[in-house]
Symmetry: C2
Subunit: 362 residues, 2 copies
Amino acid sequence: MAASTLAEVARLAGVSPATASRVLNGSARTPGPDIAQRVRKAADSLGYVPNATAQGLVKASSGLIGLIVHDIADPYFSAIAHGVQETARERHKMVLLATTDGTPGDEHTAVAAFAARRADSIVIAGSRSTRREDDGSNAQLAAELDRYCRNGGRVGVVGHPVVGASAAEGYHVVAVPNEELAAELAAELASTHSGGFVIIGAPEGLLTSDDRVRGFQRGLAAAGLPPAEVLRTGFNRTGGYEAGLALAQGILDAREAVQTPGGAAARPCIFAVNDVVAIGVVAALRAKGVKVPRDVLIAGFDDIETLRDFRPALSTVRLPLEEMGRLAALDGPAQAGGARDCISGQVVLRRSTETVPATLEQ
Amino acid sequence: MAASTLAEVARLAGVSPATASRVLNGSARTPGPDIAQRVRKAADSLGYVPNATAQGLVKASSGLIGLIVHDIADPYFSAIAHGVQETARERHKMVLLATTDGTPGDEHTAVAAFAARRADSIVIAGSRSTRREDDGSNAQLAAELDRYCRNGGRVGVVGHPVVGASAAEGYHVVAVPNEELAAELAAELASTHSGGFVIIGAPEGLLTSDDRVRGFQRGLAAAGLPPAEVLRTGFNRTGGYEAGLALAQGILDAREAVQTPGGAAARPCIFAVNDVVAIGVVAALRAKGVKVPRDVLIAGFDDIETLRDFRPALSTVRLPLEEMGRLAALDGPAQAGGARDCISGQVVLRRSTETVPATLEQ
DNA sequence: CTGTTAGCGCCTTCAA
DNA sequence: TTGAAGGCGCTAACAG
């Protein structure tokens, strides 16, 4: 049994569908007050719910914002989703959700699905890749987005522009100064830490990770330090955990070795390219008996909500995740001219990189 | 500029729209191979994207699943959302997201919006309330859902049935044995813990919280213990934090007092009605210098993903959150007969309730 | 196997 | 101010 239609309401109210339509939606001005009353009563008694699908067909706008994330249960993405949702709310739109599990090939499918539903705009979060194996997916995604924009759709991307996408009308990037912030972080750490540095990054070709690695190295260089060793691993907690396991023994050995000569000066400092990875690293280290910051320092990136109650308190770079989502869901940058909003982050040092003498640590 | 239409494709291919439609979608069987080829090429060259809106209008199904949560950034809800998304994926549907910030009044609005978009089904997560002030919202929500179901919509609710909703066709509850599990938890804790118990619950009338409080008390009673004191606070981290602050001084005082007589036997055990609240409590306690489990034991409920890396490891009741979402998004219970699926949970004891002698603790 | 016809529910010209 | 007519893009019946 289908819902009642505008025609039924009109018939019951003894008016034409057109009139009913004018009353029930804000078409210019509501007709005669008496008529309006009748129509409204009829609609009410029938439990009339306007068919947004049909409305969307005749109007241009569908009132939908498409959102693409890797995993909605990941705190990084759910924070961004929260921001997108806020924009949607204040614009009286709804959010359509698609998840890709990080598979680039699924992105263009999602875009096509959104385009098919005539979403007013699309927000893409999640790291871009320039890896050889993703060339095909990138091309497909770029083509799909291009077409979508050409048809009047708006696209907001969090982080990097989609690889290969032409800077078409309606294409909008919320840029994150990953490199600069990573450099700042490195500078801050270098100012208090004298030991070696290790970077735990995602596989090369993941732009977000690459930027952060590059920035961190640049920061070290600027401080006159040698480049950090780079470990490549999965861009998630599991990847971090594996990297942590790989590092643990070395750290313990080094600690033993140094015990004799003098002090804990040699404890290394780890930079994980995001908090989720950092958390995985810490978990592995803890499992192996390595203590932070006693035996090793560590910093992450993003400042996800989870960190609020994570111990040891993790040094990181705070990103305004919700605002990034909010901005990406808007139709374009605040200032006209370039299709690019740039947000700002902030280095946040916490206990995980405190370099107080080891003897004072528990 | 609008996207190209089926008619354009048909014209370019020199066939009728009907034929083009048959080729581009799986209508029975694709027409002549040569024709099909032509149509496909035409569609390709025009960058044709079928208009799902129009398709939804003529067909019954819109391919949409509506999901209502309090806050998508809350790990409890994002885990459920993940499950819903999984079902959506395997059914080739998309998820429409609505958030209410816990405001019951927003729920019926969201349902109406979903109904307007002709969502195939709606999933509602988030605690039901029987508080007086929510009577109106409950009634509106029940009415809206009823109408939606009558029109052929399917509703899946996580936790409690919507207050006042008639058990209509298409209405489906994924029941959580909150009371039983809380009782089990109490029993387990009572078997190793001899001190007093304190429950930190949400305001009375929030069904999930009420069930857990009741179950916990029942479990204590079954173990021959007196009922726990119940503290009412907000059903979120902030509420937990405030409750924690309120408890901290008393715990410290009690600890001092007991120091003289004998041992740490009197340290209390806190049961927070969910993990998020428990985390807030722990944060407050930590800020006040109260250590867990040295000075106080604490357990939560849900086993959200965040707990994986939370220290001290928090005792809790594990709920299959993703599966709950998955089930709620299915059209009905596995076994026919009653519109009710019941999932099962499991008490998980971790360090936060370990009762080893205080002297062995760090 | 293909093309024609008739709507799905609604809005927006137009004419009255 | 109100009603009638046409069409948004697509599909499902019918014809041919």
